[in-house]
């Protein structure tokens, strides 16, 4: 192999979305020389797709809000499977992280007093989401991007080099992490433009690679969401938790077929939109589960009054957590009460004047007009569930974001625990900020604690290089496989067999199919040369998608209950004995997976006391309750 381009850093951040950029800012502000590795151009990360807002209990709209209410809502949304320490840190620190964005130049929508405005969202007791119309994610990514630029300008003023202390490697893909013994030592990557390898040497790596939705056919996720961080971490020896929990967002576009899955923001419901079936019925009133009976309106009249008088009325059931709404839509369609194209109706046109709709939901108005010829100010939208978010991810220490591998950190969607079995809308953007900063700080502190830098193992590097160019083959393969075909089969398999509603026999079929696909993937052959070759890139992504899908399917078979983003047709109820158990995935060999059960750490008593005993009884075993029998 020829001489390889090599660079040294203190901290490498893989991923340039919200959590990656926030981690990089923290590491750079802690004085660490930092690199950001981005699969796409700078500023294109999946964070731009977030629409509704960023949840933070600032209490700007309703002064009754505080971190304790946010904490309770988050735990309820996740059906109490959440890592309570992460939920606590998140609820406490989110307001500071949002206010900090204003010092970077962010311009959120305002209240009449000039504070940051906050909107209602599913599962949140009070208006809590800082937002900019329905393009909040774009505002966040641009703000963080511009903060990075601002730090580069400071470095330029001091050193004459913009990239002296923080550099963005755009269109650069990491294919393997390299270790020195048990510790992280760096990463091998390749430039898309030239196809050439580069070696990044660093004692600390922050994973911020987002989710896994591209393993599914119907998804709101962009091409980047191939589970890279999950797979890289797994192969480097880290563990993943909660991989059985996938969030299907209740409202994706269903028509025309080419846009199926594109997100329709929850703000449509938060701002007053209602869901109806083909009989014109607001069906969500039929789907309020027992655990939420006391918090949601039971009549349309009360639900409608809530929009103007939230303190004296209960909220409409359209604003139940996402897992509940997605299942309800699924049931309506199954029962034959769906819309013409297999969804249900979501209507704002009869609920608000046209100018209000255009003002509050400009992207939605634009999206439906341009892509579906539907004017949402005049007619209802057709919507249905779409694969949106993975709750599972790299197991980390809540306070520092450190994974089980020394030197490896993770934040945002690719980390696990914070959201339990189901994430509330708006808690993702705040998660990125809170834990992005913590992981960046954690990585910087780890670097400070080292007495000597780890050394890259040349044999490892060489092996990683060979593996990454293997798909080009040597021209001798019989029965060569096409990456696009394999990807389509993977998406169909996961969509049909490990989707919203799961059955043991179907998931087992999926596991068998995944095994076949993995075998076939060994014969992948790509055409052309290494320069900006999408087929080659997909072949590398497929390795990650297959590994992560195996985690999802195997965990889904084991968890014999229904909770949040995991619904079993053969185990339809939530089981308190499963709440305190996590399923932990680790790598078995190079591309296999093994799963073991692990006990959750019991919730701290002062956090437990934030809930009424009657509510806790719905989720916890008797032995876990305060004053309960201890084993």
């Amino acid at each position: 192999m020829s001489e390889i381009e090599t660079h040294s850093y203190d901290v490498i951040v893989i991923g340039a979305g919200g959590s990656g950029l926030r981690a990089a800012i923290a590491a750079r502000e802690a004085g660490k020389k930092t690199a950001i590795i981005s699969k796409s151009l700078f500023g294109k990360a999946h964070t731009v797709m977030a629409e509704g807002g960023c949840a933070a209990a600032m209490g700007n709209v309703n002064p009754n809000d505080n971190w304790m209410v946010h904490f309770r809502d988050t735990m309820r949304g996740g059906k109490f499977l959440n890592n309570w320490r992460m939920a606590e840190l998140h609820a406490k620190e989110a307001p500071d992280r949002v206010w900090e964005l204003e010092t970077y130049g962010a311009l959120f929508d305002r209240t009449p007093e000039g504070k940051i405005s906050q909107r209602n969202f599913g599962g949140h007791t009070y208006p809590r989401l800082a937002h900019v119309g329905d393009r909040t994610g774009l505002e966040m990514i641009r703000t963080l991007q511009q903060k990075i630029v601002s730090l580069q300008q400071d470095d330029f003023a001091r050193t004459g080099d913009y990239e002296a202390n923080i550099k963005v490697y755009a269109e650069c893909t990491v294919t393997d992490l390299i270790k020195d013994g048990e510790r992280i030592a760096g990463a091998l990557a390749y430039w898309r433009e030239s196809g050439r390898h580069l070696l990044l040497e660093a004692p600390a790596i922050v994973m911020a690679t987002g989710g896994v939705g591209k393993s599914y056919k119907v998804t709101s996720n962009s091409w980047e969401y191939t589970g890279d961080g999950h797979a890289l971490a797994l192969r480097a020896g880290a563990s993943l938790i909660n991989m059985e929990f996938l969030q299907f967002h209740p409202t994706g576009m269903v028509w025309p077929p080419s846009v199926k899955g594109i997100l329709v923001t929850e703000s449509v419901r938060g701002d007053g939109g209602v869901l109806t079936n083909s009989e014109g019925k607001r069906f969500m009133f039929d789907y309020i589960p027992d655990v939420f009976k006391d918090q949601y309106a039971t009549t349309e009249e009360e639900a409608d009054r809530w929009y103007t008088d939230a303190d004296n009325n209960k909220r409409p059931p359209e604003l139940l957590p996402r897992d509940e709404v997605a299942r309800a839509i699924n049931s309506e369609v199954q029962a034959g009460r769906g819309s013409p194209h297999g969804g249900v109706f979501l209507d704002v046109s009869s609920r608000m004047p046209a100018e209000t709709i255009i003002k509050r939901l400009p992207s939605m108005h634009h999206q439906f007009k341009e892509l579906a010829d539907v004017d949402i100010t005049k007619e209802p939208m057709e919507v249905g569930p779409t694969c949106h978010y993975v709750m599972g991810g790299i197991e980390v220490d809540p306070d520092t974001g450190q994974a089980s591998v020394p030197g490896l950190f993770a934040a945002g969607e690719c980390s696990g625990g914070m959201h339990g079995s189901n994430r509330l809308g708006g808690n993702s953007l705040s998660d990125l900020l809170v834990f992005g900063k913590r992981a960046g700080d954690g990585a910087a502190a780890y670097v400070d604690s080292l007495s000597a830098r780890p050394v890259l193992d040349e044999v490892e590097v060489k092996r990683a290089q060979e593996r990454s160019v293997a798909p080009f083959g040597d021209g001798s393969q019989d029965g060569a496989e096409n990456p696009y075909t394999l990807h389509q089969e993977l998406q169909q398999t996961m969509n049909d067999l490990v989707g919203i509603i799961r059955k043991e026999e179907e998931v087992r079929q999926a596991i068998t199919k995944l095994g076949e696909l993995k075998e076939r993937a060994k014969n992948l052959v790509v055409e052309g040369h290494r320069q900006f070759n999408p087929g080659w890139h997909l072949a590398l992504d497929l390795r990650n998608m297959l590994l992560v899908s195996e985690c999802v399917a195997n965990a889904a078979v084991l968890r014999q209950e229904s909770r949040g983003g995991h619904t079993r047709d053969d185990y339809t109820t939530m089981d308190a004995e499963w709440r305190h158990k996590l399923l932990v995935c680790t790598a078995d060999g190079d591309d296999g997976v093994q799963i073991v059960e692990q006990e959750q750490i019991p919730m701290r008593s002062d956090l437990m006391e934030l809930f009424e005993l009657d509510e806790l009884k719905k989720y916890f075993t008797d032995a876990e309750l305060p004053g309960g029998a201890t084993a």
Binding site: L41, L107, R142, E193, S258, H366, E527, G528, Q531
Partner: protein
């Protein structure tokens, strides 16, 4: 509902290239990017294209369709004539890397030359107070998805490579306007940076002769010319008659002369 459509796609790299003809199936509701993806999955697995969200939110899939700068994910096939060949070419203003992918680093360099927001020193995080009406002007510009179609279209640089050094283009002049209109930006008070003067002196605002080509191609329908560039030009004109500013500027250029003489 499906039909066959002839496409002519530019393929090549920095050393040159040519159009390649394809006959592709098109289905109801599809956009140009769907067709490009079908090509990749069938006839042309190594066809290079940039895309991310396929929902008009990330601004990655910019190209020229039948000569018009567009996002491929937001151009529906039903808006293009079926009886003539549809051409897809890379953006013309930027150097080709491969096929439909261009080197857009020009834009990132220009972005870095616009001094970032300067937070007011006397306000702690959480103390910012702004009225909706005051933030709305800048918010319009922050809708920008950085697809760089305006940069690609602007005639100042489209066929004039030599202007690229002095001219930041509509996207980054708009960024200057955005910061200039930000209710709390303290660049002038704390750093002595007049953003209007910077637009004129450092970012080449004077090159713009408001032909509105940028506004026409903006997929976000931002009124770049009317709301950002013209107001910025008006503010620059106002500056010229501001005696305090004239004095400061004279002093600055004098200092510069002295420095260059000494150097």
């Amino acid at each position: 509902m499906s039909y066959q459509q002839k496409f002519s796609v530019w393929r090549g790299d920095s050393d040159g290239g040519d159009f390649v003809e394809y006959d592709v199936e098109v289905n109801e509701g599809e956009v140009v990017l769907d067709v490009v993806h079908r090509l990749q999955a069938t006839e042309a697995p190594d066809l290079a294209v940039r895309w991310n969200c396929k929902a008009g939110k990330c601004g990655s899939c910019s190209a020229e369709i039948n000569g018009r700068p567009r996002l491929m994910c937001m151009t529906r096939m039903s808006t293009l004539p079926q009886d003539t060949t549809v051409s897809i070419t890379p953006m013309r203003t930027f150097p080709v890397i491969r096929d439909l992918v261009t080197d857009v680093s020009f834009n990132y360099e220009k972005a870095r030359e616009v001094r970032a927001f300067v937070p007011p020193a006397d306000l702690a995080p959480g103390e910012y107070r702004m009225q909706q009406v005051d933030v709305e002007r800048s918010q319009e510009f922050r809708k920008c998805i950085e697809c760089f179609l305006c940069q690609n279209t602007c005639h100042v640089v489209r066929d004039h490579e030599e202007n690229k050094l002095a001219f930041s283009g509509p996207r980054f002049l708009m960024r200057v306007a955005e910061l200039d209109m930000h209710p709390l930006d303290a660049a002038e008070d704390q750093e002595g940076l007049n953003r209007k003067a910077a637009a004129q002196d450092e970012h080449g605002l004077g090159y713009c002769n408001i032909t509105k080509c940028c506004t026409e191609v903006c997929p976000e329908h931002i009124k770049i010319t009317d709301n950002a560039l013209i107001p910025l030009k008006e503010r620059v004109v106002d500056l010229k008659f501001d005696p305090m500013f004239i004095r400061r500027r004279k002093r600055k250029s004098k200092e510069k002369e002295q420095v260059s003489e000494e150097g």
